[in-house]
């Protein structure tokens, strides 16, 4: 009956990967609800961004101490996952440490380095937990995170502690091994007989691998999804100067045809919507941004509006975009198509007051370690407000009419534009 364990393991493994794949596919579908935008080409530049921003975590190193702790967790998690291969082989074949005979003396070196990394991950994650829950770091105690987001962050940290501890426990309970960190745990098991040790090792092994599968399937519901999306998001990040705003060709042509009607093609139709009212009006990159956000709040900590007490928080713009997109995606999944639900990203999720507070200073874009542009979304929503709803503060309406009539945002006579040349 020994094969029962292997079969159960096989089913759990295939099931976990299937579910994970299915959920990732659903996210991909949600992202593709966004408007098309051509971000192909410049492949060399784009891979460079992946190397620097995603693999190299360049932006994280603006704060070296936090960056190094984060690097421990990141490198640790990636490399320890090599161990996952052995675990899967063992689980499917019923072997015990299948790689040991293959690697010979290098096996101990490998596991020892995994253990060191596991120790570093534990160290970093515990510090992160303390920072998040017991210190007063503005961006981490912010009201943006009230409710689920705060629990999400702590769940991630706790799972990481549990997984690393199980990995070390499993090694410690194996009487044939003597690894660098787990050997310090061995004394806890003094006096236990071989069977008891084997039970502990097996139990730790099972909870560890099932825990990893569970964590993997938690990603699509969590801010932790950034460990996957940070990479494509760096690839597709804008290569343009940050100050350059995305051009609205439809409006450009409208103006051109108004000025030079002879250029207007017959039957040219006006676009059905200006700017973005809901998530489907944003580009797929904006939507991928929303799924890539790990809610760290570096954007909001640098935002001049946020740090002077205005309602705007770039992080919250990203979180609300993801929330709304999830809601839209769920409805489509249930009903097959999208039917207006009487709500929209603009107004129901993101308020006019938030949008009005933005100075377009690009501090949020500059700060984001995973190449998100909250500013892009803010601008698209502002476009909808002004062009679809004529919703602008009175001063802006005055500014618009001054530009239209006086060619300057203030009410000066255009004839006085060069008056300064006459002054002393």
């Amino acid at each position: 009956m020994a094969w029962i364990a292997e079969i159960i393991f096989g089913i759990v493994t295939v099931g976990s990967f299937f579910l994970f794949g299915k959920n990732l596919w659903a996210i991909r579908k949600n992202i593709l609800l966004g408007k098309p935008v051509d971000l192909s080409g410049d492949t060399t530049e784009r891979w460079k961004q992946v190397a620097l921003l995603a693999f190299g975590q360049k932006k994280m190193f603006k704060n070296p101490l936090v960056a190094i702790l984060h690097l421990f967790v990141y490198v640790g998690f990636i490399i320890i996952n090599i161990e996952l291969l052995e675990i899967i082989v063992d689980g499917l074949t019923g072997s015990h440490r299948a790689f040991a005979p293959l690697l010979g003396e290098y096996y101990d070196l490998l596991i020892n380095s995994f253990e060191v990394l596991a120790g570093l991950v534990l160290f970093a994650v515990i510090i992160f937990f303390i920072r998040r829950n017991f210190l007063t770091i503005k961006r981490l105690i912010s009201k943006d995170l009230n409710g689920w987001p705060r629990s999400d962050a702590n769940i991630i940290l706790i799972i990481e502690v549990v997984l690393m501890s199980l990995f070390l426990t499993m090694n410690a309970a194996d009487p044939e091994t003597h690894f660098i960190l787990s050997s310090y745990i061995k004394p806890w098991f003094n006096g236990l007989n071989e069977n008891q040790l084997a039970t502990i090792e097996h139990t730790a092994w099972w909870i560890h691998i099932v825990g990893i599968y569970a964590f993997m399937n938690y990603l699509p519901y969590s801010k932790h999804l950034h460990i996957i999306l940070a990479f494509p998001n760096a690839y597709y990040a804008s290569l343009e100067p940050k100050g350059k705003m995305h051009n609205m060709e439809s409006v450009q042509n409208e103006v051109l045809y108004a000025m030079q009607p002879e250029l207007a093609p017959a039957g040219a139709e006006a676009p059905d919507r200006f700017g973005a009212k809901d998530v489907m009006d944003l580009s797929w990159k904006n939507l991928m941004d929303a799924y890539s956000c790990t809610e760290c709040g570096r954007c909001s900590a640098a935002c001049p509006a946020n740090l002077t007490g205005k309602l705007l928080s770039p992080r919250s713009i990203m979180m609300k975009t993801r929330d709304r997109l999830e809601e839209v995606g769920k409805q489509i999944q249930k009903e097959g198509t999208w039917k207006e639900d009487g709500k929209s990203l603009l107004h129901d999720y993101i308020s006019v007051e938030e949008l009005r507070a933005c100075t377009t200073c690009n501090a949020c874009v500059e700060e984001c370690p995973v190449s998100i542009s909250p500013l892009d979304i803010i601008i698209e929503l502002r476009r909808s407000l002004v062009m679809e709803e004529s919703n602008a503060p009175a001063e802006w309406n005055g500014m618009f009419s001054n530009i239209e009539n006086n060619f300057a945002p203030w009410k000066f006579s255009p004839d006085d534009r060069d008056a300064w040349t006459q002054q002393a």
Partner: protein, 259 residues
Amino acid sequence: MKVATMAEFLAAGKEPEVLFWVGCAGSFDQRAQKITKAFATILDKAGVEYAILGKEEACTGDPARRAGNEFMFQMMAYQNIQVMNAYNIKKIVTTCPHCFNVLKNEYPALGGNYDVIHHTTFLQELIEQGKIKFTDSNEWKGKSIAYHDSCYLGRANDIYEAPRKVLESLDMELREMKRCKSKGLCCGAGGAQMFKEEEKGDKRINTERADEAIATNASMVASACPFCNTMMTDGIKNRNEEVKMDVLDIAEIVAQAIQ
């Protein structure tokens, strides 16, 4: 002062080296007019052959675009590009980072392709080429100064060094604020905020930035944008009525030290 327009150059059958794009603030705002005049004076002294569009210049459309009014922006852009292309403009220098950003990054997609340069970069080049020389005992020597990064010059276009190099070439003692360069804090004017009241909050953005400038204990503040200049001047005035901390544009500082 005598400043030639593009129309006058055209009438004389000539083309200037560079078009000086003055911008709305530089043209109409009393404080910014001083910056404009300072820069024009420098161009004259450095022997740069330049022209302005004069009455033919119009708002680039920047504040309208950033407020969300793309129609207004496109109309202004269309008009300006028509005028500049008719004059066969190749190179533009401007004292406003907002105009600079739009002319350099956003007009090309609309058919306006020019070599656009901000005045701080232009000044740095003129100094390097020896076309601007300072008096031996320039009045700024050794004075401490905090340079405030304009968002549309810095983060938006990665220009951090040119204005600092100009100040250093004057032997000024550069002091950095807590947030500077790519981490520089906005003055609060961008994104068309200049043209409306700030949203509800617990502090004004320019007060926050003024506090940082004051904390450097520098004797003055340098700006490179007419809007930053206004915001910083107001912020410092609100905070510090007794201590005088002048806010001067890089062009004004250079103009006062030039030979």
